[in-house]
């Protein structure tokens, strides 16, 4: 699953993430992070046999967790399937199908937003 972790100022100096990885069997990928002494947030992807336990642990440590269902979304009305975004995706989450429709793979997407800022018809939305 992908989720935003919200860090309050009181926990930014705790080693929550490394403890999580030490104690639980989880795979953990940081997609985006913006953390300052005043708190901050981190977009993560978490999987593995103990992902649920790991999430419980994070919440117990005081991290507010907001799962996101969709990272990237294409507005089918606005999109003209030009394909400008395809080569900009660093994780090859954007592909052109056999019928030449441009598809965005939400599972692969890391939410970098490069496709969004380059879209000529502003047809791509990235979840905050």
């Amino acid at each position: 699953m992908k989720a935003w972790l919200n860090f309050s100022p009181s926990i930014v100096n705790k080693t929550v993430i490394s403890d999580l990885i030490k104690h639980y069997d989880v795979s953990f990928n940081i997609l985006r992070a913006d953390i300052t002494p005043k708190g901050g947030k981190m977009l993560i992807e978490i999987s593995g046999t103990e992902a649920d336990k790991g999430i419980e642990y994070l919440e117990k440590e005081g991290i507010q967790l907001n799962p996101i269902k969709k990272v990237v979304k294409k507005d089918k009305e606005k999109c003209v399937d030009c394909g400008e975004c395809v080569s900009l995706c660093p994780v090859e989450a954007i592909t052109i199908a056999d019928d030449w429709t441009v598809n965005l793979d939400d599972q692969k997407c890391i939410g970098c937003g490069f496709c969004k800022s380059s879209c000529p018809t502003k047809a791509i939305k990235i979840a905050d």
Partner: protein, 513 residues
């Protein structure tokens, strides 16, 4: 073998065999051109690409009292009104008058809004005459309320086009899309085997007056477009570069937003996605053969858009089969490609036109006049006052610092020479970094002693043989106040500052008076 009149009779009788250019490619490959010419009557082509040279003429009708509009804005986008009283031409790339909106809503977006039936704000100003006393207008109009809204696109349907990559270290924003650093991707634009002018590369059937599909309505070819060129290199009968173009006309009131879309190329400008399709009558075997062209046979060059000059270096030659596969190899490395023009929409255009002809709603035309297929070249614009190169500037004596110099010594050097920038060099005079008076202030504030701690190591530079305009843009883009001049060996030859450039412009303006 066949005539347009015979084909039109077949269309009327519902007997015409119509295929898209993509289908025709397979038919010719499988059955040969001779058989294809006997079986097929019409091949429909299509393209749906960003075509900046597009726009529309409007006639607003006369108000009471009447006005002779001298400045006209539609939803804040200026239309050219140096025409009769209430006529104006709106171009697709015209940005919004409010710089905060700028290219996010330009002429192209306004055209789409009109086609979608939206009401738009009309603001016009005038100086007032005896016959046109009114001096301003502020009202709302729609496509329906306009007397005429005629799309006239001076240059559409480029026969072929360059593909682009970027060898520099920074991301570039171009009309061929966003180009990643270090040749990280490739942008291309042509619809390849579906593209109209690649299916009739010598203009044997396409001419002045040819009826076409334009943005969901019926339009016409007015003639060759601007920058029409015929003398470029050809492979398999089709140009390898941009070559031929068309000037198109159509009634905006009959168009469909499905085939016309306002868009913005980030940090470049607004542009109009135009859906255009041209029917090609298969009059003989040669024409059939030409419409049989495949993506594999259509070549194009990938240019390095990292070089911002008129002649950009060719990185390599490729073809549309490879480009459309999504990945190509440049210098042994796999690179992703982006089409920029929608092949899906181009197919829809070709299919729609095919359906019109099959239903007997669209008939073919004989050209009134042929479009030139030879003798056309594109002349460059010669600047009478040639670009000044960096090396032509009066370069002040070269003053540099060494990495091991003390901060106080560097500060003194700046004061003594009345300068704010000092390139830092190694023993051989090669550029290592740059310090500014601000860096020195910073060093004092932080109590740094070493120059290497405060100098900028990643330096933006000017090469001796670059035009000064380019350096001005570079200084502006990076929000810096000066750049060291280096030669090909990275040896420092001097400094060029924003002040030098403004002084240069002042002196040039004086000369011009």
């Amino acid at each position: 073998m066949k005539t347009i009149e015979e084909i039109n009779q077949k269309i009327k009788d519902g007997d015409a065999v119509v295929v898209t250019a993509r289908e025709m490619t397979r038919i010719v490959q499988e059955n040969g051109a001779g058989k294809a010419a006997e079986e097929v009557d019409v091949v429909t082509t299509g393209t749906f690409g960003a075509m900046c040279s597009s726009g529309a003429f409007f006639n607003f009708g006369h108000s009471d009292p009447p006005i002779k509009m001298s400045r006209t804005y539609l939803n804040g986008v200026e239309a050219y009104s140096g025409l009769a009283a209430v006529d104006a031409y709106l171009g697709a790339t015209q940005p919004h008058r409010n710089p905060d909106i700028g290219t996010d809503y330009g002429g192209a977006h306004l055209l789409e809004d009109l086609v979608r039936g939206k009401e738009v704000e009309l603001v016009a100003e005038a100086f007032g005459t005896d016959c046109y006393p009114r001096t301003d207008v502020h009202t709302f109009i729609s496509l329906e309320s306009l007397n005429q809204a005629i799309m006239v696109n001076p240059r559409n349907c480029y026969q072929n086009y360059a593909a682009a990559t970027n060898s520099t270290e920074e991301t570039l924003y171009t009309y061929l899309g966003t180009l990643l650093p270090q040749m990280g991707n490739v942008g291309y634009s042509s619809a390849g085997e579906l593209s109209p002018l690649l299916n009739d590369p010598y203009f044997q059937t396409i001419g002045v007056g040819t009826r076409i599909f334009l943005c969901g309505g019926q339009g016409y070819i007015l003639g060759e477009g601007t920058q029409h060129a015929t003398e470029g290199e050809r492979k398999n009968g089709v140009p390898v570069g941009s070559a031929g173009t068309l000037m198109l006309q159509g009634d905006l009131k009959k168009m469909d937003a499905k085939f016309l879309r306002g868009a913005t190329m980030p940090k470049y400008g607004s542009t109009l996605y135009v859906g255009a399709g041209i029917p090609i009558p298969i009059l003989n075997e040669e024409i059939a053969q030409r419409t049989g062209i495949s993506d594999q046979d259509i070549h194009c060059n990938i240019y390095d858009y990292g070089v911002p000059r008129r002649s950009r270096p060719v990185v390599m030659e490729t073809n549309y089969h490879d480009l459309r596969s999504g990945k190509i190899e440049i210098n042994g490395r796999e690179v992703q490609t982006s089409p920029l023009s929608s092949f899906k929409k181009a197919l829809e255009v070709a299919e729609e036109l095919k359906m019109w002809i099959e239903k007997g709603d669209f008939f073919l035309t004989n050209p009134v006049k042929n479009i030139p297929s030879q003798g056309c070249t594109v002349k460059p614009l010669e600047i009478k006052r040639p670009s000044l190169l960096v090396k032509d500037l009066k370069i002040k004596p070269i003053i540099t610092a060494r990495a091991e110099d003390a901060i106080s010594g560097v500060a003194r050097k700046m004061v003594d020479n009345n300068i704010n920038h000092l390139p830092v060099v190694d023993h051989a005079g090669r550029l290592m970094g740059i310090v500014t008076s601000w860096d020195i202030a910073h060093a004092v504030a932080k109590d740094s002693k070493k120059l290497t701690e405060v100098m900028t190591k990643k330096v933006i530079v000017a090469l001796e043989d670059e035009p000064v305009e380019l350096i001005a843009r570079r200084i502006d883009k990076h929000e810096i106040s000066g750049v060291p001049i280096v030669n090909r060996e990275n040896l420092v030859r001097g400094m060029i500052t924003a002040e030098d450039i403004s002084r240069l412009i002042c002196s040039q303006n004086k000369e011009g008076d």
